[in-house]
């Protein structure tokens, strides 16, 4: 009898697990839509806060689009003066960096994608892959529901898909139930939560709600980075395939 019950329960779990996973994947897919665009252009200001010290803002242009089934992103620093012209191009898991000091374009290994971008609390991967959406590299499991900022939210746990070069061991996303908006994303490494991103100030751009403010708080040091987006263009004519080549990186000034 016990054996029969055990088999029955196991069967139920196996039947329900895909439904739950499917549901979580759907939640992530809907939330990712706000960050994605067929041809996404943005201008953002990134300010690093270290304790009471506030760094000069870093202004950057972002370009993103999918080419041949692979997401490509280009980030170009415009301010401050010493970083102007620094750029990084990500094509899938490949990373090239243009150094403004020499104008040289250098390919870097995938380990560099975890490196801090411009000394901020965001990595190259966070910057380049943010507009790709989380779902592409992680598989989602719904952990349950929670409340955040007075809103009913889904709590979704994401772990790297097999074979994907996902930069984090685990990600926990808190997504509003009503509008499927990311409100918080927590990043884990070696079993510990290392940083948390809060997303807010959603504004509608071409029928899509886009977060114009993001704040990444580090849990390993006294530091946080605020990204204020000033311009977002979806399906932007500024975004062309030629931008995502090393030839274009070389011509950047």
């Amino acid at each position: 009898m016990k054996k029969t019950l055990s088999l029955f329960l196991t069967g139920i779990i196996f039947l329900l697990a895909p439904l739950s996973a499917q549901s979580a994947e759907d939640i992530i897919r809907r939330a990712d839509k706000a960050l994605q665009g067929p041809r996404l252009y943005s201008v953002s200001s990134l300010t690093i806060h270290r304790g009471d010290d506030v760094q000069p803002p870093q202004v950057m242009e972002g370009f993103g689009m999918e080419i041949d089934g692979k997401y490509h992103s280009l980030t170009v620093y415009r301010e401050p003066a010493r970083m102007r012209g620094t750029a990084y191009l990500m094509a899938g898991d490949d990373l090239w960096v243009r150094f403004s000091t020499t104008g040289r374009v250098r390919k870097l290994s995938s380990s560099a994608r975890k490196n801090s971008a411009g000394g901020s609390d965001l990595s190259y991967a966070d910057m380049g892959e943010g507009n790709q959406g989380i779902g592409s590299k992680y598989q989602a499991v719904l952990r349950g529901r929670t409340r955040l900022e007075g809103q009913e939210c889904f709590e979704v746990e994401l772990t790297p898909r097999r074979g994907s070069a996902a930069p984090y061991e685990k990600v926990v996303a808190t997504i509003s139930v009503e509008e499927y908006r990311y409100l918080q994303i927590e990043y884990f490494e070696a079993g510990a939560r290392i940083k948390t991103m809060a997303l807010g100030n959603y504004r509608t751009v071409d029928d899509t709600a886009y977060p114009f403010r993001m704040e990444m708080v580090s849990h390993t040091r006294d530091s946080r980075t605020v990204i204020e987006t000033t311009t977002v263009e979806l399906d932007s004519p500024r975004v062309e395939p030629r931008l995502f080549t090393t030839a274009y990186l070389e011509s950047l000034r």
Binding site: R50, Q55, P56, I67, D68, K70, H72, E79, P80, A81, R82, R84, A91, D93, D94, F99, T101, T102, G103, R104, R106, K107, L108, S109, S110, S111, A112, K114, N115, S116, G119, E189, R221, D222, S223, E240, P241, R242, F244, T245, T246, A247, E250, S251, R253
Partner: protein
């Protein structure tokens, strides 16, 4: 023209041209740049700054020196057409005394190029441009078009080369570059058609691996130290477990370096001359970025060749002529001696090199700690260069560095033994605008 008028023109004209050039261009495009001042203190040895390369301190080296550099970049264009101008202004040493006079300076056009995109798959660039390529940090044997970079300071900006480049971008994973470049103008009178070189580069990227193939053909095939040499190159970069592994190799039809031939004549070495590099880089979770490379320098000198150079430098008759009271004899000897010093390039002098570069960002302090270790396996010379870089503000960067050369094997013909300065400290203030 001589006299006060000439002095006035010499003093004012370059600066005036500089301003005239920048004002209109700056109004239409963006103007940015950097001013850097470096104070360098040499630590002299027991013989002062005298070495086989600098007998009796011929180069008139002083304990403390200041280097100024104003680098100005004008860029313009949006969409499909771009302009890039980069002009460096540096003080010029007096030809005779070696001293630096405030009214003597050098304006160098490092870049001056226009680019035009025709659709997504075609780009043409005309003018003085950078054709730097390769994966190596210290050396790039794959790079056939550019002058040798300095492995002791591989991030220093190099002057571009004059030419036309056509980029063909048939897909996101393939990049083709075809170019025609001219030898640098030496006389200011231009160059002949025969000195034009045609080159090409193909890059193919996919699944974490990138391949590059380069080639360069010279019409005259002649020796020209200021221009590139014909050759073929290939390179690969691949990502394994998050680490980047790369290799480059080239085969040239002759060396770009001079060798002492029987009879004491300096000539380049006829090929084939091959060079190769293997390296790896990795970024650790804490941010430490490590690069390690091995370089076989086919254009470098083996022990016997280095000893030939040392013997020529220490030739008693040449040293006697250098100290002659007859100015013609002394000037002739100085020119001959200067030619003998040309082969000496730290980091490219011997055949086998290893390099380790470390960069550790201290984000909380807005600092980078970095260090480069360069070792010549066959000459036993160790070069160390630790640096601290402080990003004081959005525009100001301060950098303190030490550079040291150590002779670990007692090789009298090695880089450390020849160097007149073995230890130096420097402080650089750099303001970007």
């Amino acid at each position: 023209m001589t006299g006060p008028a000439a002095a006035l023109i010499r003093r004012v004209l370059p600066g005036l041209l500089f301003v005239l050039l920048l004002l209109p261009a700056g109004a239409q495009g963006t103007l940015r740049g950097e001013y850097a001042i470096t104070g360098t203190g040499y630590l002299s040895g027991s013989d002062g700054y005298t070495s086989s390369l600098n007998p009796g301190n011929l180069a008139n080296l002083k304990d403390l020196s200041f280097q100024h550099r104003l680098s100005t970049r004008v860029s313009a264009g949006e969409g499909t057409a771009f302009l890039d101008l980069l002009i460096d202004l540096t003080p010029l040493a007096e030809p005779l005394s070696g001293g630096v006079s405030p009214e003597l300076f050098n304006l160098a056009l490092m870049r001056g190029a226009v680019s035009w995109y025709m659709g997504d798959g075609f780009k043409i660039t005309l003018g003085r441009q950078s054709l730097l390529t390769g994966y190596g940090y210290g050396w790039n044997p794959l790079d056939l078009a550019n002058p040798l970079k300095d492995p002791v300071d591989p991030e220093a900006e190099l002057a571009g080369v004059d030419g036309v480049t056509v980029h063909l971008l048939p897909g996101s994973s393939l990049n083709l570059k075809l170019y025609g470049i001219a030898d640098p103008e030496v006389s200011g009178a231009g160059v002949d058609y025969e000195t034009i070189s045609l080159g090409g580069e193909a890059s193919l990227v996919g699944a974490g691996t990138e391949l590059k193939v380069t080639g360069l053909y010279r019409f005259d095939g002649e020796e020209n130290l200021d221009g590139p040499t014909a050759g073929l190159g290939a390179g690969i970069f691949t990502d394994i477990g998050g680490a980047g592994f790369y290799a480059e190799a080239s085969l040239r039809n002759r060396s770009r370096t001079l060798f002492i031939q029987p009879g004491g004549v300096l000539e380049t070495k006829a090929g084939p001359v091959w060079s190769a590099l293997g390296g790896a880089e990795y970024t650790f979770p804490g941010g430490l970025f490590v690069t390690a490379e091995y370089y076989y320098n086919g254009e470098g000198y083996n022990r016997e060749e280095r000893e030939d150079i040392l013997s020529a430098l220490e030739d008693p008759s040449l040293l006697e002529a250098l100290g002659s009271f007859d100015q013609d004899i002394a000037a002739g000897a100085a020119a001959e001696f200067a030619a003998l010093t040309e082969p000496y390039r730290p980091g490219c002098y011997s055949r086998h090199y290893g390099l380790v570069s470390l960069v550790y960002p201290l984000y909380d302090q807005n600092m980078d700690l970095s260090g480069t270790l360069l070792y010549s396996f066959d000459a036993g010379t160790l070069a160390l260069q630790p640096r601290i870089i402080w990003y004081a503000s959005g525009g100001l960067t301060l950098e303190a560095a030490y550079g040291g050369l150590f002779d670990l094997t007692g090789d009298e013909a090695g880089e450390a033994a020849l160097a007149p300065v073995k230890h130096a400290v420097s402080l650089t203030g750099r303001f970007s605008f």
